[in-house]
Every structure is written in structure tokens, then in C-alpha cells.
Amino acid sequence: MASTLVSKTAVPGCAQQQSAASSRVTRVLDLFDRHFRLITIAPAALLILSLTVAPAIELVRMAGAKIAFTNDGVERTAALAENIDRLANDWIYWRALLNTLVFVITSTLAELVLGLVLALAAQRMTRAKGIVRTLMLIPILIPPVAIGNMWRLMYNPEFGIIAYLVDQVAGVRLDMLGSTSTALLAVIIVDVWHWTPFMFLILLAGLEGLPEEVMQASHLDGANSLQRLRFIVLPMLWPAIAVAFVFRSIGAFKVFDQIYLLTSGGPGVSTEVLSLYVFKVFFQNNELGYGALLSLVTIAIVCSYLAVFRIAQRRKGAL
């Protein structure tokens, strides 16, 4: 059935090959064809091996060394114990880890709740939904550096719109990025602004995927909208919520660009996060060996988070 269908719509390049049998070209093509499975995956595999697997192994090698740049090139001296000892006493790293966790949990939860409320509100709209979707894409797609820059101007205590609004409401000129007590909150607000639309889009797609019959049945059964949300919509949406949460929390864990622009980790260490600190150790202090150790610990944290999620997923079964 399908075969007749295709042969009638003569596919260019497919029909004429029997005529040119046993020429050298055909032999090369035959060879190409026989190894096509390998040929198609080889470039990707090579690239991944050379630019991700090899560097990951290199990280392990680097972590046990002290690396210095001399005129003859790179000089490595063994320093594993020294690096580990330093990590154990490096309070800035642990503070950065704490800041990162606070940042990840607070911003992801806020994005989830706001995104869900917004998705529930937008779900029933018919004509407006398309334009809402389009506009919500803007923060996701523009360069994070531009977002950082933009919010830095908005937070500016002299003329920034946020400082102005806070002044109008509370009567104080706040420098939110410049004060240790508000800086972390300020960068969390930027992240929530940046990524709530993403949560909204994922959850809206999830909501639209729910079977309409169940909704109608529950309506006929006399469930009010809160009951429907609690006992039907949320349980059915749960897989989408879990995936969105994990996805976004890992994205938040990588945060670098905005904080680099907004505060560079300051004032003091109040917004220092893991990526930023690893960057500083690598490229400002030029301590490639110790930076590699920090990288490995950071990678281990991400991997164990992923593993825990995977196991939880398996336990739940369906997901």
C-alpha cells in the first residue's frame, strides 16, 4: 500500500540508480550506504568525545594539580591534598553553595506558583491566548546579559524605576543591589521575571493536554472549581509540574550571566553563586587546578540531584 504510494510520486535520485551499475561511483556509494549508520553518528560522537568527555577527564587530572603558566607553557605540580584541604576550609565556596540553593529553591517555587496561576487564568481564553504566548516568549529569548543590564538600570538608586516606586510606596530610596540584606532578593526577582513565562508556557501546554471529558464529567458531578483544581487538575498535571520544576531548577543552578552583570556576587559575598565563584577561581585568580576541583564537586551535586529525581520517577512508575 505504502509502496505503491511512494513509487507513484517518483522520488528524485531514487529511481535511476540501477542503470549505472558497477561503476566506481556505485561502489563508493555502496560502501557509504553500508556504513551509513556509523557515518551519520560519527561526527557527533567525535565532537562529544573531544569537547565534553575528554575535558571532563581532564578536569579530574587538573583537580589534583597546581597549574602555572610559564614561558615554556603549562607547568603542573601535584597538589591534590592541598586542593582538598583548601576546599574544606573555603567558606566562600560553601557560602556560594548556600546562596545558590536559596536562589534555586525560592525562584523556582515562585516561578512555579505564578506560572500555574497564570496558566489557569489564560487557559480558557480563546483569542487572547496566542498573543499572550508570543509576548511571554520575549524574556526567554533575549540575551540574559541584556536582561541583567536592563534590571541594573531599573534598580539604580538615582533614577531607576524600581527605586522610584519603592520610594513612592515606602518613602525610602533603596539601593537594592547595593545592600547585603536585599541583594539576593533583588537577583531572585529578576530570575522570577525572566523565567515565570517559561513555566507558564510549559504548564499551559500541560493543561491543554488534559482530556476535556474528565473536566466535563467532574462539572456534571457537581464539583466546584476549587475541588476540580485540587482533585483533578493538579493530580493530572503533576508529571508536567515535576518535569518543569526539575528543568527550571537546574537552569537556575547554572545562573551566571545576570548575576555577573547585576552584582558580580557582591556586596561582599551576599550574591556569590557557584558558577560565578568557579569562574573567579578559574579566570580571575588563575587557579585552574583548584577551580577544576570546585567544578567536579559542582558537577557531582548536579548529577546526584538528577539521580534522585530519576529514582523518584521510577518509584512513581507512570511518569
Binding site: S7, I39, V74, L201, H219, K254, S275, L306
Partner: protein, 275 residues
Amino acid sequence: MVLSPRRAWLAFAVVGLSLLSILAPFIWIVGVSLKFQIDILTGAFPFKPVTVNFDRVLFGKSSDFIAYAGNSLIVGLSSTALVLLIGAPAAYSLAWRRWSKLFSTLFLGWTLVFHMIPPITLIGPWYLLFREIGLYNTLTGLVLTHVVVNLPLTIWLMMSAFENIPRELEEAAVVDGCRTSTAFFVILLPLALPGLIAAGLLSFLFSWSEFSIALNLTTKETYTIPVAIASYAGENEILHGQMAAASVLSTIPAVILMFFGQRFILGGLTAGAVK
């Protein structure tokens, strides 16, 4: 299901308010970019819009913005072309040709892990490697890193695009004497075009926005737009109008692509998240 009028109003209010808070920062920043410094500092409103900031950013004597935009464009376009050229066949191989369970689990599992770890952790080794082989501070080196960073998402998007194509199409073509490879180029690839467009758009936008890698593997003459903006912000803390103008300019590709390709982008983003 129809909402009661009161509920409908509430829903509209929630959505409207959210849209406003998403858009307000953009409107404000565009406003700042069109003001003289003195109007910015006094918060003048209404004000007479001027293009002086854009002129200085684009054509100022000490400004290399256009050259950096050129770098960004070169890196974005070539890394996108390469990632499609490498990623689409790989996705085809994994989705359509028989690989052992172990191999595909390892391959896809590793790309997932690589996609999830902060890129900054691998920039140290990249820096060492690129210095050694002469790719440090070259656009080629940056292109390679952007290709590998975009590879996981491209492979996943293309795999689901290929998996949606019925197997019979290829079988029929082979029965008709078509080569497996020809069938891939002539039949499968055109059918996977929507996936290709989505992956391409997302890769380009990522590359255009990418900051942490470019920051550490480039210097002055190979800067891309994000690095240029960040260094500009560091050097000229007080030139608020020009910083605003540079930020506004950097969002142009995203805004254009969003309006033309939003269907693909939306599909790609949500599919990428659900994987």
C-alpha cells in the same frame, strides 16, 4: 466550558497584569535609550526622544559595536549550520538505525548530563586545550564550543522529529531501489524540516545570547555582543543611555525571529523541557 463573567474578569485581570509586568521593563529601557543623560537622571517625563545613544553605540569613534555584532553573527550562523549538519544525522542514526540499548543509553544519558551541568565547569579545560592547539581567542574555537553546547537539544528535537515519520515511507523507497542514504536525504530530511527549523532557531538564539563561554575564550577583537555589552557596562558605568541602547539593540534578532518563527520556537522549547 464557559466561565462566569466575574471569573472571566478575574482571569483577564491576572493575565493582563502579568503581561504588563513582563513588558514594562522593556518599555522603560527603550525610554531610557531614547533620552539625554540629563533627562535620564531627572527622570523627565514626558521627554523628547533622541537617537543620540544609538548613534554613539553604533557609529561612535571608540565603538566597535558593529564589528562585535559581525562576530556574533558569524559565530551564530556557523555554529547553527554545523550543529544541524552534525546533530540531524546523529539523531537519525539513533532513532532509525539499530544501535544497542547500551550505546544509545550511554550516548543520550551523557548528553543529558552535559546539558545539565553549568558550562562554566568545562570552560577551564577548554581554555587549556584551546591554548594548546591555537584555538584560544579565535571565532573557530567559540563556534566549536557553541556547537557542542547546542548538540544535545538538537539531537533530542531531531530524534522526536524522525520518530514521528512512519517507517513504511523508507521501506517503500528501499523496495523501489532507493539507497538508505538517499532515502535519508531525499525523503526523511525534508519531512523533518519543522524540527530542523526549531532546532536551528533555538541554536542561533542561544549562540547569540551566550555569555560565559565567550567571556573566557575571547579577547577584545573576538568579543561577541554579550561580552561587549558586559565590558561596556564595566567601563562606562555612568553612560546609562548608551548601555540601554546597546541592550535594546542586542534584543533585535530575538524579537525578529520570535515573530516569524514563534510556532517552531514554542514547540522546541516545550518539547525540550519535557524530554
